[in-house]
Protein backbone atom coordinates (compact mmCIF):
# COMPACT_ATOMS: atom_id res chain seq x y z
CA UNK A 1 0.00 0.00 0.00
CA UNK A 2 2.72 2.39 1.08
CA UNK A 3 5.09 1.43 -1.73
CA UNK A 4 2.25 1.55 -4.26
CA UNK A 5 1.59 5.14 -3.29
CA UNK A 6 5.27 6.02 -3.57
CA UNK A 7 5.44 4.45 -7.01
CA UNK A 8 2.44 6.48 -8.11
CA UNK A 9 4.04 9.64 -6.76
CA UNK A 10 7.25 8.86 -8.60
CA UNK A 11 5.34 8.27 -11.82
CA UNK A 12 3.50 11.55 -11.45
CA UNK A 13 6.71 13.45 -10.74
CA UNK A 14 8.57 11.86 -13.63
CA UNK A 15 5.94 12.09 -16.35
CA UNK A 16 3.12 14.19 -14.98
CA UNK A 17 5.13 17.36 -14.36
CA UNK A 18 6.71 17.69 -17.80
CA UNK A 19 3.34 16.90 -19.34
CA UNK A 20 1.63 19.52 -17.20
CA UNK A 21 4.34 22.03 -18.09
CA UNK A 22 3.86 21.21 -21.76
CA UNK A 23 0.11 21.75 -21.51
CA UNK A 24 0.45 25.00 -19.59
CA UNK A 25 3.04 26.22 -22.10
CA UNK A 26 0.79 25.25 -24.99
CA UNK A 27 -2.36 26.97 -23.73
CA UNK A 28 -0.79 30.12 -22.31
CA UNK A 29 1.63 30.34 -25.23
CA UNK A 30 -1.20 30.09 -27.77
CA UNK A 31 -3.19 32.72 -25.86
CA UNK A 32 -0.23 35.13 -25.75
CA UNK A 33 0.37 34.58 -29.46
CA UNK A 34 -3.25 35.27 -30.42
CA UNK A 35 -3.37 38.40 -28.30
CA UNK A 36 -0.11 39.66 -29.76
CA UNK A 37 -1.20 39.01 -33.35
CA UNK A 38 -4.42 40.89 -32.75
CA UNK A 39 -2.51 43.87 -31.37
CA UNK A 40 -0.07 43.78 -34.32
CA UNK A 41 -2.89 43.72 -36.86
CA UNK A 42 -4.66 46.65 -35.20
CA UNK A 43 -1.53 48.76 -35.03
CA UNK A 44 -0.53 47.89 -38.59
CA UNK A 45 -3.95 49.09 -39.65
CA UNK A 46 -3.35 52.40 -37.84
CA UNK A 47 0.01 52.91 -39.53
CA UNK A 48 -0.90 51.86 -43.05
CA UNK A 49 -0.73 55.49 -44.31
CA UNK A 50 2.77 56.03 -42.98
CA UNK A 51 5.42 55.61 -45.71
CA UNK A 52 8.18 53.18 -44.81
CA UNK A 53 10.60 52.15 -47.54
CA UNK A 54 13.83 50.20 -47.80
CA UNK A 55 15.36 52.40 -50.56
CA UNK A 56 18.75 53.73 -49.58
CA UNK A 57 18.06 57.12 -51.14
CA UNK A 58 14.90 59.14 -50.75
CA UNK A 59 12.29 58.96 -53.49
CA UNK A 60 12.54 62.10 -55.68
CA UNK A 61 9.26 63.56 -54.52
CA UNK A 62 10.24 63.66 -50.87
CA UNK A 63 11.67 66.98 -49.75
CA UNK A 64 13.09 66.61 -46.27
CA UNK A 65 13.61 69.37 -43.77
CA UNK A 66 15.12 67.28 -40.99
CA UNK A 67 16.04 63.70 -40.27
CA UNK A 68 17.15 61.34 -37.56
CA UNK A 69 17.90 57.71 -36.92
CA UNK A 70 14.99 55.77 -35.42
CA UNK A 71 14.94 52.21 -34.19
CA UNK A 72 12.64 49.68 -32.62
CA UNK A 73 13.54 46.39 -31.04
CA UNK A 74 12.06 43.46 -29.20
CA UNK A 75 13.42 40.35 -27.53
CA UNK A 76 11.19 37.32 -27.68
CA UNK A 77 11.54 33.87 -26.26
CA UNK A 78 10.36 30.53 -27.49
CA UNK A 79 7.80 28.73 -25.36
CA UNK A 80 8.44 25.29 -23.93
CA UNK A 81 5.88 23.56 -26.15
CA UNK A 82 7.38 25.03 -29.31
CA UNK A 83 10.87 24.08 -28.25
CA UNK A 84 9.79 20.47 -27.66
CA UNK A 85 8.03 20.31 -31.04
CA UNK A 86 11.06 21.85 -32.76
CA UNK A 87 13.30 19.35 -31.00
CA UNK A 88 11.21 16.49 -32.34
CA UNK A 89 11.13 18.08 -35.77
CA UNK A 90 14.90 18.35 -35.93
CA UNK A 91 15.11 14.55 -35.71
CA UNK A 92 13.48 14.18 -39.10
CA UNK A 93 14.30 17.57 -40.60
CA UNK A 94 12.00 19.83 -42.55
CA UNK A 95 10.07 22.96 -41.90
CA UNK A 96 9.61 24.00 -38.26
CA UNK A 97 6.20 25.60 -38.43
CA UNK A 98 6.06 26.49 -34.74
CA UNK A 99 9.00 28.92 -35.06
CA UNK A 100 7.87 30.75 -38.19
CA UNK A 101 5.01 32.78 -36.69
CA UNK A 102 7.19 33.56 -33.70
CA UNK A 103 9.92 35.23 -35.74
CA UNK A 104 7.34 36.92 -37.95
CA UNK A 105 5.59 38.39 -34.93
CA UNK A 106 8.84 39.69 -33.50
CA UNK A 107 9.88 41.31 -36.77
CA UNK A 108 6.53 43.03 -37.21
CA UNK A 109 6.61 44.20 -33.60
CA UNK A 110 10.08 45.71 -34.06
CA UNK A 111 8.92 47.51 -37.23
CA UNK A 112 5.84 48.83 -35.45
CA UNK A 113 7.88 50.14 -32.54
CA UNK A 114 10.18 51.95 -34.94
CA UNK A 115 7.20 53.50 -36.77
CA UNK A 116 5.46 54.47 -33.54
CA UNK A 117 8.64 56.11 -32.26
CA UNK A 118 8.97 58.13 -35.48
CA UNK A 119 5.32 59.19 -35.46
CA UNK A 120 5.48 60.19 -31.82
CA UNK A 121 8.43 62.47 -32.57
CA UNK A 122 6.54 64.04 -35.47
CA UNK A 123 8.34 62.48 -38.45
CA UNK A 124 6.50 61.93 -41.72
CA UNK A 125 8.25 58.95 -43.28
CA UNK A 126 11.08 56.45 -42.85
CA UNK A 127 13.49 55.30 -45.52
CA UNK A 128 16.46 52.93 -45.70
CA UNK A 129 14.84 50.54 -43.25
CA UNK A 130 17.03 47.63 -42.23
CA UNK A 131 16.09 44.61 -40.17
CA UNK A 132 18.51 42.64 -38.09
CA UNK A 133 18.15 39.44 -36.12
CA UNK A 134 20.50 38.34 -33.41
CA UNK A 135 20.32 35.35 -31.21
CA UNK A 136 21.03 35.77 -27.53
CA UNK A 137 23.20 33.04 -26.16
CA UNK A 138 21.89 30.56 -23.66
CA UNK A 139 22.79 31.68 -20.20
CA UNK A 140 23.72 28.14 -19.25
CA UNK A 141 26.11 25.87 -21.05
CA UNK A 142 23.80 22.88 -21.15
CA UNK A 143 21.40 24.65 -23.49
CA UNK A 144 18.66 24.81 -20.86
CA UNK A 145 19.12 28.47 -20.01
CA UNK A 146 17.25 31.32 -21.53
CA UNK A 147 17.26 31.51 -25.27
CA UNK A 148 15.86 34.53 -27.00
CA UNK A 149 15.95 36.25 -30.32
CA UNK A 150 16.32 39.98 -30.72
CA UNK A 151 14.80 41.73 -33.70
CA UNK A 152 15.98 45.22 -34.50
CA UNK A 153 14.47 47.54 -37.09
CA UNK A 154 16.12 50.85 -37.87
CA UNK A 155 15.94 53.51 -40.50
CA UNK A 156 16.22 57.21 -41.21
CA UNK A 157 13.08 59.16 -40.34
CA UNK A 158 12.44 62.42 -42.17
CA UNK A 159 10.17 65.40 -41.74
CA UNK A 160 8.82 66.81 -44.96
CA UNK A 161 9.52 70.44 -45.78
CA UNK A 162 5.87 71.06 -46.49
CA UNK A 163 2.86 68.86 -46.03
CA UNK A 164 2.27 68.80 -49.79
CA UNK A 165 5.83 68.14 -50.84
CA UNK A 166 5.05 64.49 -51.31
CA UNK A 167 2.74 63.76 -54.20
CA UNK A 168 1.18 60.39 -53.77
Amino acid sequence: MESGFLQMLELILNFGLPLLLLMVAYFIGAWIERRHLRSIRNREGDNVQFPVVTFDTMPDDWIASSSTLVSGSVVISLDYFKRVIAGLRSLVGGRIKTYEPLLDRARREAMLRMIERARLDGYDAIFNVRLETSRLANSRGDGKGIAGVEMLAFGTAVKFASRFARTS
Binding site: I28, I32, H36, D56, S67, T68, I76, L136, A137
Partner: protein
Amino acid sequence: MEISNTESIPGRTIVQFYGVVTGNTVRAKHIGRDIMAGLKNIVGGELVGYTELLQDSRKEATDRMIEQARSMGANAVVNVRFATSSISQGAAELFAYGTAVKVE
Protein backbone atom coordinates in the same frame (compact mmCIF):
# COMPACT_ATOMS: atom_id res chain seq x y z
CA MET B 1 24.37 66.03 -33.91
CA GLU B 2 22.49 64.42 -36.75
CA ILE B 3 22.70 60.72 -37.33
CA SER B 4 21.41 58.62 -40.17
CA ASN B 5 21.92 55.18 -41.62
CA THR B 6 22.10 56.52 -45.17
CA GLU B 7 25.10 57.83 -47.05
CA SER B 8 24.06 61.44 -46.62
CA ILE B 9 21.86 63.58 -44.40
CA PRO B 10 18.62 64.32 -46.26
CA GLY B 11 18.50 67.94 -47.37
CA ARG B 12 22.15 68.65 -46.45
CA THR B 13 25.49 68.41 -48.21
CA ILE B 14 28.60 66.84 -46.75
CA VAL B 15 31.52 69.23 -46.75
CA GLN B 16 34.13 67.26 -44.84
CA PHE B 17 34.85 63.66 -43.82
CA TYR B 18 36.50 62.80 -40.52
CA GLY B 19 36.59 59.01 -40.68
CA VAL B 20 35.07 56.08 -38.87
CA VAL B 21 33.71 56.55 -35.37
CA THR B 22 32.74 53.65 -33.13
CA GLY B 23 31.06 53.06 -29.82
CA ASN B 24 30.58 49.87 -27.91
CA THR B 25 29.38 48.47 -24.63
CA VAL B 26 29.44 45.01 -23.11
CA ARG B 27 26.57 44.13 -20.83
CA ALA B 28 25.80 41.16 -18.67
CA LYS B 29 22.35 40.07 -17.68
CA HIS B 30 21.17 40.72 -14.18
CA ILE B 31 20.11 37.75 -12.10
CA GLY B 32 16.65 39.04 -11.15
CA ARG B 33 15.85 39.64 -14.77
CA ASP B 34 17.17 36.23 -15.63
CA ILE B 35 14.81 34.53 -13.19
CA MET B 36 11.79 36.36 -14.62
CA ALA B 37 12.96 35.57 -18.11
CA GLY B 38 13.30 31.93 -17.09
CA LEU B 39 9.62 31.87 -16.19
CA LYS B 40 8.71 33.72 -19.37
CA ASN B 41 10.69 31.13 -21.29
CA ILE B 42 8.09 28.48 -20.45
CA VAL B 43 5.11 30.30 -21.89
CA GLY B 44 6.91 32.35 -24.52
CA GLY B 45 6.32 35.98 -25.34
CA GLU B 46 8.37 39.11 -25.00
CA LEU B 47 11.24 39.26 -22.52
CA VAL B 48 10.63 42.88 -21.55
CA GLY B 49 13.66 43.09 -19.27
CA TYR B 50 15.97 42.00 -22.07
CA THR B 51 14.38 44.34 -24.59
CA GLU B 52 15.04 47.27 -22.25
CA LEU B 53 18.54 46.08 -21.45
CA LEU B 54 19.47 45.89 -25.11
CA GLN B 55 17.83 49.21 -25.93
CA ASP B 56 19.71 50.95 -23.13
CA SER B 57 22.96 49.33 -24.19
CA ARG B 58 22.46 50.26 -27.82
CA LYS B 59 21.73 53.82 -26.82
CA GLU B 60 24.92 53.92 -24.79
CA ALA B 61 26.97 52.55 -27.69
CA THR B 62 25.40 55.18 -29.97
CA ASP B 63 26.10 57.94 -27.44
CA ARG B 64 29.75 56.94 -27.25
CA MET B 65 29.97 56.98 -31.02
CA ILE B 66 28.42 60.46 -31.08
CA GLU B 67 30.80 61.64 -28.38
CA GLN B 68 33.76 60.50 -30.45
CA ALA B 69 32.38 62.27 -33.52
CA ARG B 70 31.87 65.45 -31.51
CA SER B 71 35.43 65.39 -30.23
CA MET B 72 36.63 65.26 -33.84
CA GLY B 73 34.62 68.36 -34.65
CA ALA B 74 31.98 66.63 -36.74
CA ASN B 75 28.32 67.62 -36.66
CA ALA B 76 26.81 64.48 -38.15
CA VAL B 77 27.35 60.74 -38.37
CA VAL B 78 26.26 59.00 -41.55
CA ASN B 79 25.92 55.36 -42.58
CA VAL B 80 25.44 54.13 -39.02
CA ARG B 81 25.43 50.34 -38.57
CA PHE B 82 24.72 48.22 -35.52
CA ALA B 83 26.23 44.89 -34.60
CA THR B 84 25.58 42.53 -31.72
CA SER B 85 27.83 39.70 -30.66
CA SER B 86 27.61 37.39 -27.70
CA ILE B 87 31.14 37.10 -26.46
CA SER B 88 30.50 34.72 -23.59
CA GLN B 89 27.55 33.10 -21.91
CA GLY B 90 25.35 35.75 -20.39
CA ALA B 91 27.20 38.72 -21.87
CA ALA B 92 26.74 40.54 -25.12
CA GLU B 93 28.56 43.31 -26.92
CA LEU B 94 26.61 46.00 -28.66
CA PHE B 95 28.48 47.97 -31.22
CA ALA B 96 27.60 51.00 -33.29
CA TYR B 97 29.75 52.52 -36.01
CA GLY B 98 29.48 55.14 -38.68
CA THR B 99 31.30 57.86 -40.57
CA ALA B 100 31.75 61.24 -38.92
CA VAL B 101 31.17 64.13 -41.30
CA LYS B 102 30.51 67.84 -41.35
CA VAL B 103 27.32 68.85 -43.11
CA GLU B 104 25.92 72.21 -44.18
